[in-house]
Point group: C2
Chain length 203, copies 2
């Protein structure tokens, strides 16, 4: 359910059409639309889409795989980052937040309609695990044409069985004594660093 | 008002002492503490601090200056990024979100007690404006020992009078046709890029 013209336009601009389009004063009473709206300022347009219509298709060369990232704001933010710094994909493990839930959808700013959501098993190698400490410096390993950056939830991190399936382990250098970055910031930095490294390689 | 042991510990570990410390079952009835708590799962500890006790002191060589960034989540996230990728400062214009409000405090994860909040006029030169398009590539200008990255609010951006006071204008290269990054992601990338460039310079 996409509330607001910006979100609905993001879908239709990539030819994903709503199953239902509710427009205040057109086919729905404004008061009724306001009642079902999840927003503080109720949207005047709500589009209802099928999950199955979201982009699958070709897998881009780079992306992030999220392991049990339950915060929908972080999932939406990373989908937005994959759109802005990509083209990049997002792979979500079971128990990650639903990318089509209201908070993720709003944080993604419509990017969920453009970014391919792929299956982890289809994510290209190498898989580069991002851990808070102890890995190789991110900038030293991100300069590969294809890559999947694998990130865990903020508190739990990545379990051993996922780490063992990764080809590299990388760390974003942090200030001594500082707390870690959140998963959305870490994933955004990984996608930025990959794009930057690729531009340097091409020179 | 800092809710929860993690936040209160973040303060006391840098020798900022609470004016009041409310501990459930110790000096306050648990039910009463739960009633004043802003959290879903009420904290068992609430510390009340003086704004004037927050760190001022020496200005680090790098930081972000936020122009009318009203979203407290973004302000808190950038304070956390300044802590993790610094040492870095945060400068806030009037009409920016209160860094000591509940949402900013939670997003900062206690970093607000460690990161110096400085006055814009004390922020070191060059001031590097970050704009969504048209500036120099960030990686080409971030490699300077001292720098202040100046960011505007998501929709409004930076007004002309601020842009004119900046020494450089930089842009994070984005995918063609993609929406922009949010201000928290852009500022985090700038701090990362500065730290990365400095490490390369030192080699």
């Amino acid at each position: 359910v996409a509330e607001g013209e910006d979100l609905v336009d993001a879908a239709t601009s990539v030819e994903i059409e709503p199953v239902e389009l509710l427009v205040a004063g057109h086919n729905v009473e404004p008061a009724l639309l306001a009642e079902v709206s999840a927003l503080g300022h109720p949207a005047r347009v709500i589009g209802v889409f099928r999950r199955g219509d979201l982009r699958r298709g070709a897998v881009p060369d780079v992306g992030v795989a999220l392991w049990r990232v339950g915060d929908p704001g972080n999932v939406g933010t990373l989908i937005r980052a994959a759109d802005a710094l990509g083209p990049a994909f997002v792979a979500l493990s079971p128990d990650s937040a639903d990318p089509t839930g209201p908070r993720a959808l709003r944080a993604s700013m419509g990017a969920v309609f453009r970014v391919p959501l792929v299956d982890l098993e289809a994510a290209p190698r190498p898989w580069i695990a991002l851990v808070p400490a102890g890995g190789k410096t991110l900038a030293h390993v991100a300069g590969v044409a294809k890559a999947t950056f694998v990130l865990g939830a903020e508190r739990e991190g990545l379990p051993a069985e996922i780490l063992l399936r990764c080809d590299e382990v990388a760390t974003i250098p942090l200030t001594a004594g500082a707390d870690s970055l959140n998963v959305a910031m870490a994933g955004t930095i990984a996608l930025y660093e990959h794009a930057r490294s690729m531009r340097v390689e091409k020179k």
